[in-house]
Symmetry: C2
Subunit: 278 residues, 2 copies
């Protein structure tokens, strides 16, 4: 990885981990975070060589700019950064929804150098303290472009993520968001509802068995980050939830009428899906 300097805006789990991998690879990494303590920590650990201030003056010299903030903050940050990205050859983000940020980038005249990224990595922990080397090793990263996206920016985005061990896949932004509603946002909703259910009945998480613990782990994800995702992707998320509620309704009916065959078939279908597609 010889491109750079890299400006990472937001040093949380994703931005911090990306900064660590790039720095370990010898790249020049600069960082911005609203939390001054995080910036000092990143400098002290020699992960970032320069702190980007709130005026974004340092952005002028960055070749790659990464927005690593919640999906509702990213469009505003992009707008604030706009006057300062003259030298940028690639601007990308890391959000779990892609349609809105792609639209904003186009509206700001950044279509040729903007590539939407969604690294499928990380866990429920958040912040610089949770960031670590190797987070993206073997992870899938969905990349989105438009007809106006330049091939240089596109290659640069692929190289960026591949350099930290990820596998990149091109996706249409709208399809990506619809798919993520099912594959990621719905699982988070179910975990959240389960945690709410157990909490309402005064269960302690430590007393759950392995299955209960596993199914409530991602309910401890960042509240602000996830509220922004559900707001941004509300229509596909409601669609996914409706589909799942229909499944739950069918299972409930089968249990109520002691239809053992239907339950066996549902599990058998899930077993088969797991075997065929894992």
């Amino acid at each position: 990885m010889t491109d750079g300097p890299f400006a990472i805006l937001g040093l949380g789990l994703i931005g911090g981990s990306l900064a660590r991998d790039l720095a370990a690879d010898g790249a020049t990494v600069w960082g911005f975070d609203l939390n001054a303590q995080t910036v000092r920590e990143a400098q002290r650990e020699a992960i970032i060589s320069r702190a980007i201030d709130a005026e974004f003056s340092a952005l002028h010299e960055a070749e790659t700019v990464v927005l690593a903030v919640p999906v509702d903050v990213a469009p505003h940050l992009l707008e604030q950064a706009l006057p300062h990205v003259q030298r940028a050859r690639l601007i990308t983000d890391v959000g779990s929804t892609k349609r809105r940020i792609m639209q904003r980038a186009a509206a700001l005249g950044l279509a040729s150098i903007f590539v939407g990224s969604h690294p499928m990595a990380g866990d429920h922990r958040a912040g610089w303290a949770a960031s670590r080397r190797g987070l993206f090793a073997g992870a899938r990263v969905d990349l989105c472009r438009t007809n106006e996206t330049g091939s240089a920016a596109w290659s640069r985005a692929q190289t960026l993520w591949q350099s930290v061990g990820a596998e990149t896949t091109e996706r249409d932004a709208t399809t990506h968001d619809a798919d993520m509603a099912f594959a990621s946002h719905l699982p988070h909703l179910l975990s959240l509802a389960l945690a709410g259910t157990l909490s309402s009945r005064a269960f302690a998480r430590r007393h759950l068995g392995p299955a209960g613990k596993e199914m409530t782990r991602i309910a401890a994800s960042s509240a602000e980050m996830w509220a922004a995702i559900f707001e941004d992707n509300s229509v596909p998320v409601i669609d996914a939830l409706e589909t799942c509620l229909a499944q739950l309704g069918a299972l409930r009916g089968a249990i109520e009428r002691h239809d053992r065959k239907a339950i066996v078939e549902a599990f058998a279908a899930a077993n088969s899906w797991t075997e065929r597609t894992s």
Copy 2:
């Protein structure tokens, strides 16, 4: 562990793992399984020193009898074993529901030597091939008794599970089953519904991110075993599902009306529950 011989009826994940730990501890372990290949394998590995045949004649000499079969099979197996357990000082089971088997044991006149056990261990894999040493290390095992349960049988059950590293807790059978509907059976229903949802939209499990994979793992659990649990515990399971559906309904409403505050609060409450009770 010097008690014995132990007769393990059912050499699946739970029964097989228990047999392995007991045998490693030097105990005399005999085994029964409907699958003749499993019995041969257990003998070849010197885990069981004697195969119990379908007439249960070997049961006459067993001091501890463990029913390690699905919850719908256990009552029938207990009835079949009844004429052969004259020397037994403890009969126990390993099922995820406890009310029905306790009632059956009492009806068969076995109340004084029957203790209900529910080891909270294992995973979605099933069968002898999945059994392993140390499965119960650190696991919680709920134990149920009645006023008629003898203290010798009770001590023997505690010693049995503690000898394989588990922590035993006394529970009332009805309370146990109601709690398990929330803590274990509901999580399995949610995972099953999620797998059904993703399968219906032709998602491949291998393409899911970490959260989607994690939330669908237990949907690959044994169909027969789980259908029996839902049938046996249907009333508490429907109660748990209703509570969760109310939570999902509230989340859906918040997403539909773009009530970001409500979503943030739901996640914040889940975060707090995780922190307080993990």
